[in-house]
Amino acid sequence: MHLQTVFAHPRAVLIRTAGFALVWLVLVGPDPASWIVGGPFVIAATLASLRLSEPRKRNLSLPSLARFIPYFLRESLRGGLDVAARVLLPRLRVQPGNQDYRINLTSSEARLVFIDSISLLPGTLSADLRGDHVTVHALDVRTEVVGDLMTLERHVAAIFGESPAPRPDQTTAHRSPARPLEQPARPEDHS
C-alpha cells in the first residue's frame, strides 16, 4: 500500500522528502555525519505523511500566502495587545460568551488553517466545529467579531484557491453566554 502511493505520486514524494530533509538540516545543522540518523527519519516521516495525508491536487496560491503572512503577524500582535490590555488594567474588561459562525471553506486543510488562525485574532478563540458551524468563544461578546472572521476566511480561501460566497445569515450571528450556570464576569478591583 505504501509503495503504491510512493510510485503513484512521485512529485509529492520528492517535495515532501525535500521538505523533511530541510527541517532536519535546520534542526541539526550542516553536519554530514548527522544524516546517518537523519536519513532514515526523513524517509520514515515522508512515508508517514503519505499515509496520513493522501497526495492530491491542491491549488495553493503563493502570492496569497505571502499576503497572509503580514496580515497574520499584524493580527497576532493586535490580539496580544488586546488581551494584555484587558487583563492588565485594574478593571478586568471581559464578558465571555460564544458566537456561532457558518464556515464556507470546503477543504479540510483550509478549515484547519482557519480554525487555528481564529485563536490569533483579537478576542476570539475557536471552541468547537460541528459540520459547518464554528463556535467562536469571544472574550467580550459585545464586540463585533463576524467582520474579522470574514476577512480571515477570505484570506484563507485565497491561499487554497477557494471562493467563499458570503451568505447573508452570517451577519445575524447567534450569541449566547459561555457558561449559563455561572455568574457573568464581574469587574474585579485590585487595589
Partner: protein
C-alpha cells in the same frame, strides 16, 4: 552601545511583557475559555518577540531558522491545543476528575 542591539533588547523586553500579561490573564480571568485566550495570544506574541530579539545572537543561518521553526511549531501547537481543550470543555464529554 550599538543602536541595533537596543532595538533587539527592546524586543526581548516586549516578549517578556507579553509572557507576564499572559500569566496575569491566567490568574485573573474568570473561566477556562478566557484563560485559553490569554495563553494562546499573549504567549505566541511573547515568544515571537523573544525569537526576534535573539536573531542577532544566532551564529549561523540554520540557528536563526531553527528559532523561527520553534516559534512556528509553538503557534500551531498552541492554537490546536487551545481548540481541543475548548472543544472538550464546551461539549462536557471530557474526563475531568473534578
Amino acid at each position: 552601545m550599538d543602536p541595533l542591539h537596543l532595538v533587539f533588547g527592546a524586543s526581548l523586553i516586549a516578549g517578556a511583557f507579553f509572557f507576564v500579561a499572559g500569566t496575569v490573564g491566567l490568574i485573573r480571568l474568570p473561566d477556562r475559555f478566557s484563560r485559553l485566550h490569554a495563553l494562546t495570544k499573549a504567549d505566541n506574541v511573547g515568544l515571537g518577540f523573544i525569537v526576534l530579539g535573539l536573531m542577532p545572537l544566532a551564529p549561523d543561518i540554520f540557528y536563526a531558522l531553527k528559532l523561527v521553526l520553534v516559534w512556528l511549531l509553538v503557534v500551531i501547537a498552541g492554537a490546536t491545543g487551545a481548540h481541543l481543550i475548548a472543544k472538550r470543555a464546551l461539549r462536557g464529554d471530557g474526563e475531568d476528575v473534578l
